[in-house]
């Protein structure tokens, strides 16, 4: 066991939460299977539409705009991954300019894509 580097141990509460969450979910599912009555009714198998009878197939296709928003999200998610370690470098005054320039170019390039998607009207939900 590695005694000096203590970081994995710091994640122990997270692991406990995951285990507890899985255990609670599992217990609830097992209990409902064991104790709950099982009656097959037609109303039960219908899609739940807040009490209204479903009038169309729920398995219809989604508008493609959802996908385009998700693509935008993924691109800027990546940008955040690079921005986070980069932000810590700004304490160093001597090399601040290099750091700012490198990330400035990176962000400018990515923002071009954002402007393109915006201008192209891909974000409009008519």
């Amino acid at each position: 066991m590695n005694e000096v580097a203590n970081t994995p141990q710091d994640f122990l509460p997270l692991l406990v939460i995951v285990v507890v969450a899985l255990a609670v979910a599992g217990i609830v599912i097992v209990l409902s299977v064991l104790l709950g009555p099982r009656r097959e009714l037609e109303a039960k198998s219908e899609a739940y539409e807040s009490g209204i009878r479903p009038f169309a197939d729920t398995r219809r296709r989604f508008p493609v705009q959802y996908y385009l928003i998700a693509v935008l999200f993924i691109i800027f998610d990546i940008e955040v991954v690079f921005l986070y370690p980069w932000a810590t470098t700004l304490h160093n005054d001597a090399l601040k300019k290099v750091s700012l320039a490198a990330m400035g170019v990176f962000m400018a390039v990515v923002v071009i894509g954002f402007v393109y998607e915006w201008r192209k009207g891909a974000l409009d939900w008519d």
Binding site: M1, Y67, I78, F82
Partner: protein, 103 residues
């Protein structure tokens, strides 16, 4: 401490799962998911070699893993857009039915 070999074996298993899925699945989206598994297996190797390697000051392993994550994200974005475009014109996502170029 967990031996390096344990991490490498885990990565090999995940990679083999991905290899099987990428070659055997008919659905294009399932194939892309399998490719993601393979990329993750590679990333585990990179980070494990960084952690167990002789020079841990050199962060090449971790940096490379982050670049792999970024490239994987771009690959998924374009790959799934391709699948959606093919679905729209051919009404299928099964790879063995997309055979327009086959003589």
């Amino acid at each position: 401490m967990v031996p390096l070999q344990a991490y490498l074996t885990l990565a090999a298993f995940i990679f083999s799962c991905g290899l099987y899925g990428a070659l055997a699945r008919r659905n294009a989206i399932a194939m892309l998911m399998a490719v993601e598994l393979m990329l993750n297996a590679v990333n585990i190797n990179l980070v494990a070699f960084w952690r167990y390697g002789p020079n841990r000051e050199d962060l090449a392993g971790q940096t490379f893993a982050i670049f792999v994550i970024a490239v994987a994200a771009a690959e998924v974005a374009v790959g799934l857009a391709l699948v959606i475009a093919i679905y729209r014109s051919r009404k299928t996502v099964y790879l063995d039915e997309i055979d327009l170029l086959q003589g």
